[in-house]
Symmetry: C2
Subunit: 271 residues, 2 copies
């Protein structure tokens, strides 16, 4: 099943897709949908599949946005870090998010803007102190996110947050593919292109901490709830690690794609 | 004016206090109250002042919880850090919060639990790209928070989040005192006691980045909205910096007090 949110008639509406059939549901987004325990059996109206350009972020205001850093072997190597013993976790808030084809807003205060294509977990049920089996059960599905980063601000202090949470810089979507249809451990291609040039080409088989391992680890210290999301880190090929370093130019088209899910296609527009 | 949220009749209700008069307002908490542009003129019912033990956190689910690290000269010195050029910002989510007299939940997974008494800013109006004068205008008022920290988890990775966001470990309140009645730059005493023994005794005059400076800095990269809160860092005297190191024992009473606002009084109870 694929779950998403479409903009139409001046508002937003959740939809699901089973096989080739699109059903529009009585909820404003997937966040609202997941708040209903009976969401899987909700009736809706069948209709034409939404156009890519009409999609909003699947969940408009996730309760928690968590991100793993340094979670691909090849990326840890390119930034000169040892393979970590524990997941590195940082956060975003909903102000950072935009939809799958929305403009990414490039700040006037920095030109060191970098890409980070990331497989992203969407939580489907409340979970705390989970082992990996229970964590796997709590995963609703997977989506795509680009953790567009302001590298000079990220490096100003030990904490990366101020490089990671600029307004309207983090595109995600286009849809959530449920876990029964997708297995990241089998190796899904993760790609990022800037103006048509491929910058990242990794595989989720290279993840240091798997999706269930991340959910289990985080659930040791906090409760995860339906609609929370976890970006699982980026593969090699970020601009920061290139020689010479590369940044996203204003006006560029940023494409972020994961096999079996779909792609984000965002214009990076000066503030 | 003092603003708070009381638990009564199985629900919660916002109240304000002007002089000696308590008025109960038609909102479930101060977060809901602030979402109404006319909140300052809302009518309510006068009543007896609420008892300390009946208070909930002033805002039940703040949209954003931001925290400054290394923001007192004496604390930067005790942990061996230079005076920072930029504020260090990290985050919490609402799962971490408890009210001013609620139990703090001590995790089974660590015994290295530390105290951090903190003056906390509450945002009153939407603000982005603010200079310090505009930032000052956006501050609704001030409250008290204890950023109870799990030091071994905090130190596992470069990012502190996993030591800072354990469920139900961060007490705050008891009320928000509006900015017209309180001036942190004049120097308010910030105190923390564990089982009646004073551990921290600082003054907000020792802040490296003032409250308006923090709001202005954060607003450069993200929009702050009514009900967002910013914990401004802790003064010297944390357990981590003591020789030998000290931690909060399970069962301890933790008292956190700021001059002109009031105190938190929380029992630290094993999970």
């Amino acid at each position: 099943m694929r779950l998403g949110t479409v903009r139409r008639n001046g508002t937003t509406q959740a939809f699901r897709q089973d096989g080739g059939v699109t059903t529009y549901l009585p909820a404003g987004d997937i966040g609202e949908l997941l708040s209903r325990p009976d969401w899987r059996s909700l009736a809706g109206e069948q209709g034409a599949a939404p156009e890519a350009g009409s999609l909003a972020a699947p969940i408009l205001r996730p309760g928690k946005i968590l991100c793993a850093g340094l979670n691909y072997y090849a990326h840890a190597e390119e930034v000169g870090q040892e393979v970590p013993k524990y997941p590195t976790i940082f956060t975003k808030f909903a102000n950072a998010l935009v939809g799958p084809t929305d403009d990414v807003v490039m700040p006037a205060a920095s030109s060191k803007i970098d890409w980070e294509a990331e497989l992203t977990v969407v939580i489907g049920s409340t979970v705390r102190h989970a082992d990996e089996a229970a964590a796997r059960e709590a995963i609703l599905g997977y989506t795509v996110l680009n953790d567009v980063s302001v590298r000079d601000w990220q490096g100003r202090t030990p904490e990366w947050f101020q490089g990671k949470n600029w307004d309207r810089m983090t595109p995600w979507g286009p849809v959530i593919v449920t876990a029964d249809e997708l297995d990241p451990e089998s190796g899904l291609a993760v790609e990022c292109e800037v103006d048509g040039v491929q910058k990242q080409s990794g595989t989720t088989a290279d993840l240091i901490f798997s999706c269930p391992a991340l959910v289990a680890y985080i659930s040791e210290f906090m409760t995860l709830e339906p609609g929370d999301i976890i970006a699982t880190g980026t593969p090699a090929g970020v601009g920061l690690a290139r020689k010479p370093r590369e940044w996203i130019p204003a006006g560029a088209e940023l494409v972020t794609r994961i096999e079996g899910i779909g792609e984000l296609r965002n214009r990076c527009v000066a503030e």
